[in-house]
């Protein structure tokens, strides 16, 4: 997983509440065999017109927000199903940080699993950040995870909360696998004992 330390990037405003996982990635794209490649279908229904062309009114189809890495929305972002395809689609589009007054639980967790930082900020603050996000090429926010602040274009710093363990995982770029691998010497020790005590355990090789 890619580390998340500081991010200075274009922010896009999606002033909607209850953006559900179906909006983030519709069910028909789940038959994929990949985690990547879902970015072109992120927000599919909002992003494309019925004839398949881009909807010019949708923010992520406009400059500079085509390159947005931060998304600011209203309440209950990511409600709906548990599909990990939702954060996969955001990440593939390029989103590394989502800011909202509240999130659906599973989506919130799934973001961390995939190296996306979800930040909870009060509705009024989200309104201010949305204002910042509408400043064209100046729509740039800086997220400083070590100091736990979002820095606005005017230099104002907005503090946010994050669970210490999760912060650590993001800063180090560690997923569960990375965490477990820190205990690798213990796994190796276990395996040595296992191979001795249960030498009869077969391994699988086909010709």
């Amino acid at each position: 997983m890619e580390k998340f330390v500081t991010l200075s990037a274009i922010a896009a405003a999606l002033p909607e509440a209850n953006i559900d996982t179906d909006k983030i990635i519709p069910a028909r794209f789940l038959k994929t065999t990949q985690r990547t490649g879902l970015g072109k279908h992120a927000f599919d229904a909002m992003r494309y017109l019925p004839d398949g062309t881009e909807n010019p009114d949708f923010v992520l189809n406009q400059q500079p927000w085509r390159k947005a890495e931060i998304l600011v929305t209203y309440d209950n972002l990511g409600c709906g199903s548990s599909r990990e395809h939702a954060p996969w689609a955001l990440l593939d589009f390029g989103i590394r940080c989502v800011i909202a007054p509240s999130f659906a639980d599973i989506f919130f967790n799934n973001c961390f699993k995939n190296g996306i930082l979800p930040i909870r900020l009060p509705r009024e603050v989200c309104d201010e950040l949305m204002g910042d996000a509408q400043m064209g090429s100046n729509a740039r926010l800086t997220v400083d995870l070590p100091r736990q602040v979002v820095i606005r274009p005017n230099g104002e710093e907005v503090p946010f909360e994050i669970d210490a363990f999760r912060k650590h995982l993001l800063l180090e770029g560690l997923d569960d696998i990375g965490q477990t691998l820190k205990h690798e010497s213990n796994i190796t020790t276990y395996e040595k004992r296992r191979d001795q005590e249960k030498s009869w355990l077969p391994t699988i090789h086909f010709d």
Binding site: K31, T36, E84, K113, I177, S199, W200, L201, P202, I204
Partner: protein
Amino acid sequence: MAARTLFDKIWDDHVVETLPDGTSILYIDRHLIHEVTSPQAFEGLRLAGRRLRHPERTVAVVDHNVPTSDRSQPIEEADSRNQIETLERNVKEFGVPYFPLLSANQGIVHVVGPEQGISLPGMTIVCGDSHTSTHGALGSLAFGIGTSEVEHVMATQTILQRPAKNMRVSVDGTPGAGVSAKDIMLAIIGHIGTAGGTGHVIEFAGSAIRGLDMAGRMTICNMAIEAGARAGLVAPDETTFDYVRNRPFAPKGEGFDQAVAYWKTLASDEGAHFDREVTLRAEDIGPTLTWGTSPETVLAITDTVPDPAQETDEAVKAQMQRMLDYMGLEAGQKIAGTPVDVVFIGSCTNSRIEDLRMAAQIAAGRKVAPGVRAMIVPGSGNVKRQAEEEGLDRIFLDAGFEWREAGCSMCLGMNPDRLTPGQRCASTSNRNFEGRQGPGGRTHLLSPAMAAAAAVTGCLTDVRELA
């Protein structure tokens, strides 16, 4: 040391380390993978530059998506073909042992594992599929996992888990005529409910369970998940050892003797603590089937469909009515005599040679009723071959059954074998959820013998009348 259960012993034996928050890093002896839940896990490894820690402790098969018709033809459905081809590329790149579609050993992952001796007693076994509980019949701790966990096991050969609670379901006595493992398990689920095992690993015990062959024990453990349990277990005994001996990947010679000595230590100790105990009498169980869209909605074949009006709880009443409407049944009607359109004998619950023999016994010398489509789908290429050696294919074909290639088939609507809306199916599979076998399809779960009886009479039938 305090008295321990079978589950406790296998658990203790596989804990690498317990972390301060109570989560354990649990060592995994065997990882089984298939085409549906593995692609993103492989991709995750690739993106992180990781390899499988132990490809030689991993085995891959294709089962969910595969057509069960002529294998010489290319797979028509593009999504399915893509998932299969993706698995084939992945196993090559990561060096994972793989039974391809055209291998004689191909089949449903939960049939292939035990059959090949890849799954053994005392092991921890995981697979990205909830019916991994099947392998618990060998006395192994086997459970299903999600795609992120699949990747975790690939990379670390471990999984992060908290211990389950212990539950014991004992079935004592001698089952009556026409009663097999499937009837016993449906009765258990009917008794404890689909949430009855939540948070627990269920050890199945008692003389009726001990008396089952391995196929029967697999049927029972397969559906432990339908009772909400994390896994099912049967203590390994002589029946188990006889089954495992001489399997292709089982230990041989002295190694086998050492293994048996170890496996014998695994049985639950006298006085071990179970958080929950349930006891059933085999004599109370008749041929059993489901009437609704949850596996706990069971009936004896001699019963009538329950009446929602008898229910006091409004939510339950409404749910029952919805099930009756979906299933096209009337409250109070006799379940026997309900006409069926399709009969499906297969799935990881009931597609082993013993299951096919039970069905063949009923089918022999009879004909599939007019208008009924009846399919036999062996659980693996090996089951199919053995059945052909025993002449079971002739019995089925003469009776008018379809004799198909191995796969998940009509257990779920992911391959071409599907019900059409409104079709009623007598099925030996494990889930009767709405749309499970195809949108609008109506599923009655029952035993292979009962399914065969439905095929030849054209309706749900008490198999004892055909004996």
